[in-house]
């Protein structure tokens, strides 16, 4: 299953990438491949903006405005409320402002 087209904020700086492969290891949706010692985005729409790749890239070659793709959480933070309604072993919706902040650069 793939979500909406052309909406995610994922950015890759090819010049900075050192081809360590960490992003391939952490991405749960197979967004990247490694080609000639450089990382390449092959399935952009599959990205769920979890921020795992950006946080684990040792040279900050990746950037994504990470957040939790959850309507309840987004509405809650839009109204300035906090909530936590996590599903078991799944993605969750957490109106925690921290989950909404861009990944560390």
């Amino acid at each position: 299953m793939v979500y909406l087209k052309d909406v995610v904020t994922l950015r890759l700086d090819c010049d900075a990438c050192i081809g360590c492969g960490r992003c391939l290891e952490v991405c749960p949706h197979g967004v990247f491949v490694l080609e000639a010692d450089k990382c390449r985005i092959v399935d952009r729409d599959a990205c769920m903006e979890c921020g795992a790749c950006a946080r684990n890239c040792p040279v900050n070659a990746l950037w994504v405005k990470n957040g939790v793709g959850c309507a309840v959480g987004i509405l809650n933070s839009a109204f300035g409320r906090k909530s936590s309604c996590c599903g078991e072993s799944q993605a969750c919706c957490c109106g925690d402002p921290k989950a909404e902040s861009p990944a560390e650069k």
């Binding site: 299953m1 793939v2 979500y3 909406l4 087209k5 909406v7 995610v8 904020t9 960490r22 391939l24 290891e25 952490v26 991405c27 749960p28 949706h29 197979g30 599959a46 990205c47 769920m48 903006e49 979890c50 921020g51 795992a52 790749c53 946080r55 684990n56 040792p58 405005k65 990470n66 957040g67 939790v68 793709g69 959850c70 309507a71 309840v72 959480g73 987004i74 509405l75 936590s84 309604c85 996590c86 599903g87 078991e88 072993s89 799944q90 993605a91 969750c92 919706c93 957490c94 925690d96 921290k98 989950a99 909404e100 560390e104």
Partner: protein, 353 residues
């Protein structure tokens, strides 16, 4: 010697600890050895939290544990202190020797905690330090759950603690295979899935959490049914049909939409929900034999309700992005509100005919 875990200022375990089956002596003290089997208590607890019972207090004490007879070379497997996460992990380790590092995530599962930052770089480094993992398992590799990656910068952990870090598979059930393959994950082990079972797993919690809202909506319609040209009266003969309609939409939106998700048209959750709403609403119209005005109202309300519930389901999926949900909310929410208002007004007007 005392158990090191007892020194930490954290909340105690829920209930008893019948999963502790002894101790392992280490250079820094005793480490509790845990069972790889679930007792009836563990099973009961796992069922209860699926129904939202005691979910927030279902925790284990953070710290270091042992499975089997681990040595200084055995892997250190990190997990959250949500008891279901911990139980799932120890449940797949039968016959293996390993250390378990339970991180304080305030009783929240790995993925949620990583998203929130509670399963984060700082907490992990602190837990590594206080449990003195480096002394207990000097040659070990720290295996993090892959789903902890949104919260943890592995290279930071390495830099500040000196411990080698790898990401294990997404699912605990692949862990044994991962370890046996020399800590190598196949691409499939790295991918998050969203099976029928996954999609339905959250339905009970959703049903329980939205119960009060559904009851309130039902009450509004019960009271609204009595208005009319001849003044107000309690129209109790309409209550069974109203109750049926409310519960049909409630169940359709929370159970049917997730179940049929891959087969519903389009990528938008608001749209997928609306499709279920059209079917539910039309079904109710046929069944109740309402007139045109009331029938259209029932369909409108059904579409709006199921579409809204579909959008709410984004929080339980494993593949929706925040940017995508924001885009959907912008166009769908106004339409859903308009649908509810129009449907409710039509439904009331039908009473004046």
């Amino acid at each position: 010697m005392l158990e090191r875990q007892e020194n930490l200022p954290v909340e105690p375990d829920t209930g008893n600890r019948d999963w502790v089956i002894g101790n392992v002596e280490t250079p820094t003290g005793r480490v509790p050895r845990v069972s790889t089997h679930w007792s009836w208590r563990d099973r009961l607890g796992a069922v209860a939290v699926r129904w939202n019972i005691g979910r927030r207090r279902y925790r284990v004490h953070p710290g270091l544990y042992a499975v089997g007879s681990p040595t200084a070379e055995s892997p250190v497997l990190a997990t959250a202190n949500y008891k279901l996460s911990f139980d799932t992990l120890r449940g797949v380790l039968d016959g293996l020797d390993a250390w378990l590092l339970v991180v304080d995530t305030k009783g929240i599962n790995v993925w949620c905690a990583a998203g929130k930052g509670t399963f984060g770089t700082e907490e992990l480094i602190q837990r590594i330090t206080v449990t003195e993992v480096a002394k207990v398992a000097s040659a070990a590799i720290l295996v993090l759950p892959q789903l902890a990656a949104p919260g943890v910068a592995a290279h930071e952990v390495r830099r500040r603690t000196g411990i080698r870090v790898v990401y294990g598979p997404v699912r605990a059930s692949d862990l044994a295979a991962f370890l046996r393959a020399g800590m190598h994950a196949t691409p499939a082990m790295r991918r998050v899935q969203f099976t029928l079972l996954d999609r339905l797993a959250v339905a009970p919690v959703e049903l329980v959490q939205r119960l009060a809202t559904a009851l309130l909506i039902m009450l509004v319609f019960f009271l609204g049914a009595g208005v009319g040209r001849h003044g107000y009266r309690l129209a109790m003969e309409q209550w069974p049909a109203i109750a049926t309609a409310v519960w049909a939409n409630f169940l359709a939106g929370i159970v049917l939409t997730p179940a049929l998700l891959p087969w519903l048209l389009g990528r938008s959750f608001a749209l997928k929900g609306a499709e279920i709403g059209i079917v539910t609403g039309s079904g109710l119209w046929l069944w109740t034999r309402y007139g045109l005005m009331e029938g259209v109202a029932v369909v409108l309300l059904g579409v709006a309700a199921c579409s809204f519930l579909g959008l709410m389901f984004t929080g339980s999926t494993t593949y929706t992005s925040a940017s995508g949900v924001r885009r959907e909310l912008r166009w769908a929410l106004p339409l859903q509100i308009a649908g509810v208002v129009a449907g409710f007004v039509l439904w009331l007007m039908a009473r004046w005919k």
